[in-house]
Symmetry: C2
Subunit: 314 residues, 2 copies
C-alpha cells in the first residue's frame, strides 16, 4: 500500500552510482568478474541507469583500473543508461574505444576541492572539460555534468549559491544534457536545496535537466531528496547499500542508500521500476564480497525478511 503526496512526480529515475562512486572508495579492488556480476544484479533488480565505472588513470584510482575489462565482460548486459565517468580527453578516448554509450564529467563548485580533486582551479578545470564534452557529443554520447561541493566544502565552509550556479551553467553551455548537484560532504539542508533549484530555474536550467546527489553524512539525504522532488526534480543519485563517499574529503561518508530512497518512493507510490527485495539481496551479497556491513538503514531493517541470496540470483 502506498500513499501519494501532492506535488511529487509520478516516476523517478534512480541513477545508481554504486559500481563507480561506491567501489572507487573501497580499500580493496574487487575482481572485475564481481563488478560485472554486481551490475548484472542491479539491472535484474530493475535499475535502468547504472554508472558503470570511471576511465581514470589506474594510478589515480586503482579500484577502477579495469574499466575496459568491465565493459568487455558486460557486453550487452548493460542497463538502459550506462554512463561512465571520464576525467579528461584521454579518458574519453578510452571510453569511446571501449564502447561506452554515455559519459559523465566531474566539476567542483569550490576552488579548494578543485585544487585537491582535480589539481586545477575551477576555471581551468572547466576549460579542460569543454573539449571533452564537445568530443563526446561529436561521438554521439550524451554527457552528464557533476557539480560537487554544492552545499558546503570542508575547507571553505558554506558555498555561495551563485558560485554553484555559475559552474552548473557553464557545463550546460558546453552541452551537458544533465547536471547532477552533489552535496559531497552531506552538510546541506532543504532550504539550500530549494534556493539552489530556484536560482537555477531563474537562470534557465529547469528541474527536468537536474539530478540531485546527496550524501547521508549528517542524515539529511532523504529530506533533501523530498524537497528536490517537490521542486520537480525526477532524477536522484543513490548507491546500492550506501556504498561509497568521497576519497578526498575526510568527513564525507555515505552516499544516500538506494534502499532508503526506494523505500520512500515505494511508500509514496512514485514509480522507480526497482524491485526492493532484489536490490536488497544484491547489496547484502556485495557487503559479503566487501566483508563489511552496509550503512543503509532500510537494508538493515529488510535483511531479516529476505531469503538468503543465491549464486543463481541474477
Amino acid at each position: 500500500m502506498s500513499t501519494p503526496l501532492a506535488g511529487l512526480p509520478p516516476r523517478v529515475e534512480v541513477y545508481e552510482v554504486g559500481p563507480r562512486d561506491g567501489l572507487q572508495n573501497e580499500a580493496a579492488a574487487l575482481p572485475v568478474e564481481v563488478k560485472a556480476e554486481f551490475v548484472r544484479r542491479l539491472v535484474a533488480a530493475g535499475l535502468r541507469t547504472v554508472e558503470l565505472t570511471s576511465f581514470v588513470p589506474k594510478r589515480w584510482i586503482p579500484q577502477l583500473g579495469d574499466a575496459e575489462e568491465l565493459l568487455a565482460l558486460l557486453g550487452d548486459d548493460q542497463p538502459s543508461r550506462a554512463p561512465v565517468l571520464v576525467p579528461n580527453e584521454k579518458g574519453l578516448a578510452r571510453a569511446v574505444a571501449a564502447g561506452a554509450r554515455e559519459v559523465a564529467v566531474f566539476a567542483s563548485a569550490t576552488e579548494s576541492f578543485a585544487r585537491r580533486n582535480l589539481n586545477r582551479s575551477v576555471a581551468e578545470s572547466l576549460a579542460a572539460f569543454a573539449p571533452v564534452v564537445e568530443q563526446a557529443r561529436a561521438a554521439g554520447l550524451p554527457v552528464r555534468g557533476y557539480v560537487s561541493m554544492c552545499f558546503g566544502d570542508p575547507w571553505e565552509g558554506a558555498v555561495p549559491l551563485d558560485q554553484v550556479a555559475a559552474v552548473a551553467l557553464r557545463l550546460v553551455e558546453f552541452g551537458c544534457a544533465e547536471i547532477s548537484l552533489g552535496d559531497t560532504i552531506g552538510v546541506g539542508t532543504p532550504g539550500q536545496v530549494a534556493a539552489l533549484l530556484a536560482l537555477l530555474d531563474r537562470e534557465g536550467l529547469g528541474a527536468d535537466r537536474i539530478a540531485v546527489h546527496f550524501h547521508d553524512t549528517y542524515g539529511q539525504a532523504l529530506a533533501n531528496t523530498l524537497l528536490a522532488l517537490q521542486h520537480g526534480v525526477t532524477t536522484v543519485d543513490a548507491s546500492a547499500g550506501g556504498l561509497g563517499g568521497c576519497p578526498y574529503a575526510g568527513s564525507a561518508t555515505g552516499n544516500l542508500a538506494t534502499e532508503d530512497l526506494v523505500w520512500q518512493l515505494d511508500g509514496l507510490g512514485v514509480d522507480t521500476g526497482v524491485d526492493l527485495p532484489a536490490l536488497a539481496r544484491t547489496s547484502l551479497w556485495m557487503a559479503g564480497q566487501l566483508g563489511r556491513p552496509s550503512p543503509s538503514r532500510a537494508l538493515a531493517a529488510l535483511a531479516p525478511t529476505l531469503t538468503a541470496p543465491t549464486d543463481q540470483e541474477s
Copy 2:
C-alpha cells in the same frame, strides 16, 4: 549560515525522549546518578522539554525502576517541561506524589500492539486512560497522549488512518493537551504523514496540538519530519544520540536522533534553543556510559570536531 525554507515554522520545540524512551530499551539499568546527570546535561545543552522517566511497575521495565529516586535527585534541576510517562492510575498517583509536573499516557492505534504492549484491547486501554487523564488534570498536570503504530504495525501491516484518528481524538476528548503521533516501527513515508495530519485537521485536531514521533528504522524519520513541519507541526520528538526503540516490536530500532534533527533545523534557521556541540558531547558521554556507539549520523560526523567531554561539562 542557515537557509530558510518557505512554509516552515520559525521555532520548533524538540521533545527529548532519550532518558525515558531511550533508556528503557537499554539492556542494562544505569545508576540513577548517571540518569540525573544525563538530564542535567541535556538541559544545559538547551533542551527545554525532556521526558524524564516512566512510573511503570519495576517488574515491567526494570531499567526505569527508579523514577521516584530520579525526580528526588533532580530536585529543581528540571527542564521547563518535564513530563513523565504513567501507564495507569497507580502510576499517576506515584508521579503526583513524586512531584511530577506533566504526565504522558501511551495508547496504541492497533489491536495487536495494544494486546502485546498494554495487555488490553484498544477500547479497553482507552477506557482505562480516561480516569488517568481526568485525575491528572484535576491535579493541575497537563497530559500528553501518545498514539503508537500510526503508520504501520508489525503484525497488521498498514494501519487505516481513520483508526489512528479515532484513537487520537478520544485522547483529546479525555483532555490530552498534546497528541504525539508515533511511527513505532519506522515504516511510514511522507504521504502517510500528510494524509493523517489532513484528516486530523478536518476532525478538529490542528497541527498546533500535534507532535510527531518518528523512528529511523528505514531512514525515513527526517523526511517525515520535514513534511510535518510543512504542515504546521512545531513539536518534534527525538532522542539524544538516537537512543532507544520499541522493546515489544522486534524490528523497531532507532528513534530519530536529536542531533540529526537539530542539524536540519539549524540549517533551516528554525530556532530550537539547542546547542548542537553541547548536545553531541552529552550523547558521546552517554554512549560511553552504555558502552556502545550511537547510531546518529550527525553525531558520528560531528564527533571528530568536538573536544573531549569532561566531568565538568554540566
